[in-house]
Symmetry: C2
Subunit: 223 residues, 2 copies
DNA sequence: GGTAAACGGAGATACCAACTCCGCATAACC
DNA sequence: GGTTATGCGGAGTTGGTATCTCCGTTTACC
């Protein structure tokens, strides 16, 4: 058995142009999924990459597989975020940091939001990445409750719903005021703090009526 | 000019069966739109009414017109709700009643939620009904702030966004726990109250993990 | 019983996303 | 530079869904 006939996986490397295009596809998928979510078509991605659809389908069996390839690492980023938040000295601050940073990611990347809140995208590898997150999020909640700063009746599944709410605001107003979700995260945090201290001032400013109107025109419910 | 040639609008009344069917259509449209939102097709509505599609299109030029006919009165109900809330002695209680009762309507009637949060359904008459609501909602907020019970940095457009958030929870969990939105309305209200008093206990119970999983499987983002 | 009105629902039309196919281009190798 | 396998483009096929029409049949009304 010579060094050149390694038993398995001696896949001939892609031709140089093909390899370049593969990277372009992944890059474009990242951009397009993050802007438009998984409603985007592979044709959109191909066009964004300046390639034909055929080229995309030659490299990836279908949309699912592209999503899978795309988001496992992204999910692991979120988990690392949670791990960092767990290292903050103040448990409440850790909790707030986690919520805020995650919401930032969701608001910048609609695709990521969709994988995290729906079980309809990605297969085992994405599901596995989610499982890996759960114990860390649970610990984050436990610790913040134990310190008496997070209200005692908060539970881990509330995290998902809170993200759902914040994300829906981000999506609703993204064309008009992409940062507006922070205002409502502020309201929620004031509602979640156990102590009855002063409220933090809300930031940023609320929508004015014309902007609300624009947001309402842009919004179409799912069917 | 005889009595029989009255200039305008001498529309011959519908045949008895036709009139009956017209009512069935309206009734079914109410039910179907409220369960499935405006994603529902006129074919769905016809089938629910036990009629053919042709019958529906004979009475209503298209979906838009049916929606218009359907929701103007429903919107006015919401306005009346606001007016009643304005009559409650305690401004904060009035504010809470309004938010809660409106959210109940939204959670029972997906179509109503969609007309209220989007400008893509209905024409002038629906828009006019919305305009009629605004001053009342504004007054509700003004009064609750003036009494020192609602935080001073709350503004009227926040109402719409709060409804948006609550509605998204209602939609997310409706198959599993249709009343769960009340829990998060509770959090928001604790965040909106100006005084730094005790938090109200959250109700109902949070989702358990399996139920969250079911909700996540059922949820598909809009494209 | 005659007639106009209304009915039913198959199917025309339109749209859209997923995916395939094959003639043409070009990188790789000698 | 010539040969060949590999890759490319994008029109076109497939499949699904929603809107709306048409006409043979049925029904209300006088």
């Amino acid at each position: 058995m010579t060094r050149d006939t390694v038993p398995v996986a001696t896949v001939r490397p892609l031709r140089r142009d093909a390899e370049l295009n593969r990277r372009k596809i992944i890059e474009s998928a990242r951009v397009v999924f993050s802007e438009r979510g998984f409603g985007a078509t592979l044709d959109d991605i191909a066009h964004h990459a300046g390639l034909g659809v055929g080229t995309v389908y030659r490299r990836f069996p279908g949309k699912e597989q592209l999503v899978e390839a795309m988001f496992v690492e992204r999910m692991d980023e979120v988990r690392e975020l949670a791990e960092q938040a767990l290292e903050e000295a103040d448990p409440w601050e850790g909790f707030v940091t986690f919520l805020t940073r995650t919401a930032e990611l969701h608001s910048d990347d609609r695709g990521l939001r969709e994988v995290m809140l729906s079980n309809n995208f990605g297969q085992e590898r994405v599901a596995a990445a989610k499982e890996r997150m759960i114990p860390i999020a649970v610990e984050l909640v436990r610790r913040a409750k134990a310190s008496g700063q997070l209200r005692a009746d908060f539970e881990e599944t509330d995290l998902a719903i809170i993200h759902m709410m914040i994300g829906s605001v981000a999506e609703y107003t993204q064309e008009v005021r992409p940062e507006l979700w922070r205002r409502y995260l502020g309201v929620l945090l004031d509602g979640l703090r156990a102590d009855s201290g002063e409220k933090r001032p809300l930031f940023p400013e609320p929508l004015d009526l014309p902007s609300l109107d624009v947001a309402m025109c842009a919004w179409k419910p799912r069917h």
